[in-house]
C-alpha cells in the first residue's frame, strides 16, 4: 500500500456523498464510474470525480471519435509533429516551421456570441504560441442558421465582432475564412478558429514534462470561477432550458493574452523551459495531466498557490476553472527567478505551484492537506473509447436534370445566385477583421486562399484556406469529406502554392445516433482517402460532437484548414481580372 492510500485525501467542507445523480451530473455513465472506482480502489473525492469528469469528457478524451481519427494520414517527410500536441508542425524550409491548428467554440458562441467567439480565438492562439511560434495569421470558419431566423442576426454580429475584437487587439491578421447559412444551424452555430504561426524548426516547445523535482509554474491571468464545467458542457447536447440554467461563459482579455504571448516568446528565447502547455478546456486538470502523462512522471501541486481572482475558491473549482489566458510550464531547476522577472515585466501573474515527482500520481494539496491523489496513466490509457455503432449514409440517386425546370430568366437566376447569403460578398465580415497588420498580407480575404509572407523567410509565403461544403457531406459523407480536402488543396494551388498539410475541425451531431456516427465515419474515410492521394496529411485537429438541439443535428461539417508554401511571394496570383481582353480558360472536367 502506498503512503497515499494510508492517508486518503481529506474531503472538502460540506462535501456531498457521491450519488448516482452526482455521477450523472458529471457526465459520467454508470459504467464509466465503475472504471473510476477500479482505478482508484476506493470512492473518489469530489475533486477527484471532477478530474475524471473533465478528463473523460468527449472534448478531452475523444472517446467517440478516436477510432476513426486513427484512419487519417498524418505523416509526410515535411511533417515535424502530427496530431497529439497543442498544434501540428511542418517544415517550410530555411530552418522554419509552420505551426497550426483549428478549434471549435460552438456552444459558448451560441450562448454568448461575442465572448464565445473571442475566447475561441484566444484558445487557438495559445495552442500555437505555446509551441514557440509567433502567430502570423488567423482564419475562421462560420456556420449560422437561416438568415431570417430571429437569432441569426444577433449571433452573426456578436461572433464576427468577437473574432475581430480578440484578433485585432492581439495584432494578428485574420486573413481567410468561410461563412455559410443553413437552417440546420439555427440553434447551434459553428465557430471554428484557426491560427498559423512560425517558429524556428529547431526550437519547438512540447508539453512532455521532464526532470524529477523540476518546478511547475503557473503564468498568466488569475483563476476565477469561469466556465466551471465548460468542458463537460461542450460535450452535452443542448436542451430547451440550457439557456436559463447554463453555467457561466468565460470572458476573454485579449490584452492580457498579448502580454502572455510576448512574455512566453521572450522566455522561450532562453533555455529555461522544459515543457509548456496552455490551459484550455478543463484548465489546470487537462494541462497538468497531459504534461505529466507525456513525460511519464508524477506531479504534486499546491493548489493554494494558484493565483486566484476571487475569495473562497476551493480545489474543485481551481481544477475545473476555464479562466482564459493561463499557461502551465515546467522550468529547469533554478531558473524560476529569471522567468519571474520576464512575467512580472509584462505584469502577469507568476507562481511556482508544484514539482515533478516519480510517483506517476497527481497529488493535489490544499494548505498542506492532500485533497486528491490519482494515478495518472490509467486516467489516460483507461479512458473510455467507444466504437459507436454506425450506419452508412446511402448514396442518393442521381438527380435527373430533366425533372428540374429551367429558370425563366437566366439573368435573374444568376442575380439570385450571386445575391444568396452563401454566395454574396463577405466583405462586411472581413472588413471587421484587421487583415493587414504585420504588413505581410499579399492576398487578402476574398480570394481562394490568403497569401501571407513569412517574416525572415527569404521571400517565401504561406497560402492558407478553410473549406467545407456541408450539403455535400449530408448528401454523401464520403464524397463530402473528399471534396472538402480537395477544395482546400485546389484553393492553395490556385494562388500558386504547393499544398503541404491541413488541420481539421469535425463538427457533427450526437455520436450516439448511428446515422450521425455514420456521417462521421463517412466523412473521415473520404478525408483520409483524399489526404492520402494528395499527400496532404492532417497534422492537427479538433472534434465537436453533440451539435444538436431538440434532437435535430447540424449538417455534418468537417472543416478543413489547409496550408501551402510558395518560395517566392511575388509569384502569387489572385482572382482579380485586371484588364479587358484577357482570355478566360476553364480547366478540369
Amino acid at each position: 500500500m502506498t503512503t497515499w492510500e494510508q492517508n486518503p485525501p481529506v474531503k472538502l467542507p460540506n462535501e456531498p456523498a457521491i450519488t448516482p445523480q452526482i455521477v450523472a451530473e458529471h457526465g459520467l455513465s454508470p459504467d464509466e464510474y465503475q472504471r473510476v472506482l477500479k482505478i482508484m480502489g476506493r470512492e473518489p473525492t469530489m475533486v477527484e470525480l471532477g478530474v475524471f469528469s473533465a478528463m473523460w469528457s468527449e472534448h478531452c478524451s475523444y472517446k467517440s471519435s478516436k477510432v476513426w481519427l486513427k484512419k487519417l494520414p498524418t505523416e509526410a517527410p515535411w511533417v515535424i509533429q502530427g496530431p497529439g500536441e497543442n498544434a501540428g508542425v511542418i517544415d517550410i524550409g530555411d530552418g522554419q516551421a509552420a505551426i497550426f491548428k483549428m478549434e471549435s467554440h460552438n456552444h459558448p458562441s451560441y450562448i454568448e456570441p461575442y465572448q464565445g467567439a473571442a475566447t475561441g480565438v484566444g484558445g487557438i492562439l495559445r495552442d500555437v504560441f505555446t509551441m514557440g511560434a509567433r502567430p502570423i495569421a488567423n482564419v475562421n470558419a462560420l456556420r449560422f442558421g437561416d438568415p431570417e431566423h430571429p437569432k441569426t442576426r444577433h449571433l452573426v454580429g456578436g461572433v464576427v465582432a468577437g473574432i475581430g475584437g480578440y484578433g485585432n487587439c492581439m495584432g494578428i491578421p485574420t486573413v481567410a475564412g468561410e461563412t455559410s447559412f443553413h437552417r440546420a444551424y439555427n440553434e447551434n452555430c459553428l465557430v471554428n478558429a484557426m491560427t498559423v504561426g512560425i517558429a524556428r524548426a529547431d526550437r519547438i516547445f512540447y508539453a512532455a514534462a521532464a526532470g524529477l523535482g523540476n518546478p511547475v509554474v503557473y503564468v498568466g491571468s488569475k483563476t476565477g470561477r469561469d466556465g466551471i464545467h465548460g468542458a463537460t458542457m461542450a460535450s452535452a447536447e443542448f436542451t430547451e432550458d440550457s439557456e436559463s440554467k447554463r453555467p457561466t461563459v468565460q470572458v476573454g482579455d485579449p490584452f492580457v493574452e498579448k502580454l502572455l504571448l510576448e512574455a512566453c516568446l521572450e522566455l522561450m528565447e532562453t533555455d529555461a523551459i522544459v515543457a509548456i502547455q496552455d490551459m484550455g478546456a478543463a484548465g489546470l486538470t487537462s494541462s497538468s495531466f497531459e504534461m505529466a502523462d507525456k513525460g511519464g512522471l508524477g506531479l504534486e501541486i499546491a493548489l493554494d498557490k494558484v493565483p486566484m481572482r476571487e475569495t473562497g475558491m476551493n480545489p474543485y473549482e481551481l481544477m475545473l476553472s476555464e479562466s482564459q489566458e493561463r499557461m502551465l510550464m515546467v522550468l529547469k531547476p533554478g531558473r524560476e527567478d529569471e522567468a519571474r522577472r520576464i512575467f512580472e515585466k509584462w505584469e502577469l501573474d507568476f507562481a511556482v505551484i508544484g514539482r515533478l515527482t516519480d510517483t506517476r500520481r497527481m497529488v493535489l494539496r490544499w494548505y498542506g492537506d492532500v485533497v486528491a491523489s490519482i494515478p495518472i496513466p490509467p486516467v489516460v490509457t483507461e479512458a473510455p473509447v467507444y466504437e459507436r455503432p454506425w450506419t452508412a449514409t446511402p448514396l442518393p440517386p442521381a438527380l435527373d436534370a430533366a425533372t428540374i425546370a429551367p429558370p425563366k430568366d437566366y439573368a435573374d437566376a444568376l442575380l439570385q445566385l450571386v445575391g444568396s447569403p452563401d454566395q454574396c460578398s463577405k466583405a462586411w465580415i472581413w472588413r471587421q477583421y484587421d487583415h493587414l497588420i504585420m504588413g505581410n498580407t499579399a492576398i487578402r480575404p476574398g480570394g481562394d486562399a490568403a497569401v501571407v509572407r513569412v517574416p525572415d523567410g527569404n521571400g517565401k509565403a504561406l497560402a492558407i484556406t478553410s473549406d467545407c461544403t456541408p450539403r455535400y457531406c449530408q448528401a454523401h459523407p464520403e464524397t463530402g469529406g473528399r471534396q472538402a480536402v480537395a477544395e482546400a488543396w485546389r484553393n492553395l494551388t490556385a494562388v500558386g502554392a504547393t499544398p503541404l498539410a491541413c488541420t481539421d475541425n469535425m463538427n457533427f451531431g450526437n455520436p450516439q445516433k448511428p446515422e450521425i456516427m455514420g456521417q462521421f465515419a463517412g466523412c473521415t474515410m473520404g478525408m483520409a482517402e483524399a489526404c492520402t492521394t494528395l499527400a496532404f496529411p492532417i497534422v492537427s485537429g479538433n472534434v465537436s460532437l453533440y451539435n444538436e438541439t431538440q434532437g435535430r443535428g447540424i449538417l455534418p461539417t468537417p472543416v478543413i484548414g489547409g496550408v501551402g508554401v510558395m518560395k517566392d511571394v511575388t509569384r502569387c496570383v489572385d482572382i482579380a481580372t485586371r484588364e479587358a481582353g484577357l482570355v478566360l480558360v476553364l480547366i478540369g472536367e
Binding site: E112, G224, D226, T248, V249, V251, D253, Q324
Partner: protein, 80 residues
C-alpha cells in the same frame, strides 16, 4: 417617461475593463483605489405613462437585448 437601465457583469465574471482601470489609477497615483468594476447604463425615453407596464416592457428589453443574463445583471429605474 424616462428610464435608466444599469447593466453590470455578474460577480465572478472577469471584468478586464475594470481591472485595467484599477491598474491605471494605481499607476496615476491613486493607491487608495481597490476593486474596480465597469458597467454600462442606458437612458431611454418611453412613450408610456403607466409605471408598471413600463417596467415590464423594460424588463423584456433587458432580457432580449440590453443584457446577456448569462454574464450580466441589470437594474431598471424609472426616472420620471
Amino acid at each position: 417617461m424616462k428610464a435608466r437601465v444599469h447593466v453590470t457583469l455578474k460577480t465572478g465574471v472577469l471584468d478586464p475593463q475594470g481591472k485595467a482601470i484599477g491598474n491605471a489609477l494605481h499607476r496615476l497615483g491613486f493607491p487608495e483605489v481597490g476593486d474596480v468594476r465597469q458597467g454600462k447604463f442606458i437612458e431611454l425615453e418611453l412613450a408610456e405613462t403607466d409605471a408598471d407596464r413600463a417596467k415590464s416592457r423594460l424588463d423584456e428589453m433587458c432580457r432580449k437585448l440590453l443584457a446577456n443574463t448569462v454574464i450580466e445583471n441589470y437594474r431598471i429605474e424609472l426616472v420620471s
